[in-house]
């Protein structure tokens, strides 16, 4: 069988607009492999990046990321278009990561939040977001901070701040109230901020 997925490649992180996305979904429902290849091209790096930060090893991450696309391909008929394709894919990814954690009973060492440190105060406004470029060391610090926070906080942080999902979108994926999403985001950001402050000091 000489089927090649993703003949026409999209550049990494190239966003599909809504109409193009729906057209691709429609083609996928008719088992058009090439159309599904385009969807993989558009989302593979982001899905792998998300899953990689949610599970313990690269091997697990690669396996789960493949499973995300396989399930998406198999379940394309059930995609009703009420959410975006991106949200749907990340919901699958999130659920698989949760299942994986349950199976392996991987206890994520949750970083305890020391309230006495006062790191939950308002961020230092001298940090100009535009001027903050991650160098390799700072990137490592941020990555480590993301890796050591609880799965709940990490999920919200990655999906909101990295994947730029809205509060409502996230609340739908996680099946929690919007207020809970905000609470987790705040705690997650504070955890990263604390790590960065320690590094800078």
């Amino acid at each position: 069988m000489s089927v090649i997925f993703g003949v026409a490649r999209l550049t990494n992180r190239e966003r599909l607009d809504a109409s193009a996305e729906l057209a691709l979904v429609e083609q996928c429902r008719r088992k058009n492999f090439e159309a599904f290849g385009k969807i993989i091209d558009a989302y593979q790096a982001r899905v792998i990046g998300f899953v990689r930060r949610m599970v313990a090893t690269s091997e697990e991450a690669e396996d789960i990321a493949q499973e995300v696309f396989i399930r998406a391909y198999q379940g394309m008929d059930r995609f009703d278009g009420r959410s975006s394709l991106r949200t749907w894919l990340f919901r699958i990814a999130y659920n698989l990561c949760v299942d994986n954690a349950r199976k392996r009973q991987r206890a994520v060492p949750e970083a305890s939040f020391d309230e006495s440190e006062g790191s939950l105060e308002m961020p230092d406004h001298r940090w100009d977001p535009e001027a903050q470029v991650l160098d390799a060391e700072l990137r490592t610090v941020v990555e480590e901070a993301i890796g050591t926070m609880s799965e709940k906080l990490r999920t919200v942080l990655l999906l909101h701040d990295k994947e730029e999902m809205g509060y409502d979108e996230l609340a739908g994926i996680l099946d929690v109230p919007v207020g809970t999403v905000k609470s987790r985001l705040f705690l997650a950001r504070s955890h990263v901020q604390k790590a960065v402050e320690v590094y800078r000091s």
């Binding site: 993703g6 992180r13 990046g49 493949q66 309230e115 939950l120 991650l134 909101h160 905000k182 609470s183």
Partner: protein, 153 residues
């Protein structure tokens, strides 16, 4: 002013916030965009060609058995449909009553032959006029024999 530690505690326990606390939380989140920018700059993971190739193989493997299964179930379904149709045909087919008016072709041929022979016999012996069916006369005890009858003997 809300005590910060009290808010932190509520956030950690994920309990509902008051309006003022929710407002404060929104403000803090709005002011912490710099952290969000750090997270945004964390790189994606570009998949290897091997990963993509393995994904393609898995997709094809998942696709192929499905087609086989569909084909197999299609064959089973078609066979079942034929069997059901045949059963219905034989169940609803009118069964000819034994010894009834419907006869096999062999019987019909025999009947025609017998009728022809009887007709020829009748014409040659003068019994009957050849157009009327030959019917046996029923003789019972009350029958009154005529002179003609006796003369025929």
């Amino acid at each position: 002013m809300i005590d910060n530690n009290e808010l932190i505690s509520k956030l950690a326990r994920e309990v509902p916030l008051s309006m003022a606390e929710a407002h404060e939380l929104d403000q803090v989140l709005g002011a912490s965009e710099v952290v969000a920018s750090f997270v945004r700059q964390v790189p994606d993971e570009e998949p290897s060609l091997a990963w993509r190739s393995a994904l393609n193989e898995r997709l094809i493997a998942h696709h192929a058995p499905k087609r086989t299964t569909v084909r197999q179930w299609g064959m089973v379904g078609f066979g079942s449909a034929v069997a059901v149709a045949a059963s219905i045909f034989f169940l609803t087919k009118p069964v000819p009553p034994k010894g009834g008016s419907l006869a096999t072709s062999a019987n019909a041929e025999q009947i025609l032959l017998d009728a022809h022979r009887a007709n020829v016999f009748a014409l040659s012996t003068g019994a009957g006029d050849g157009s009327e069916p030959i019917q046996a006369k029923t003789v019972n005890a009350d029958y009154q024999w005529t002179e003609a009858d006796l003369g025929a003997f």
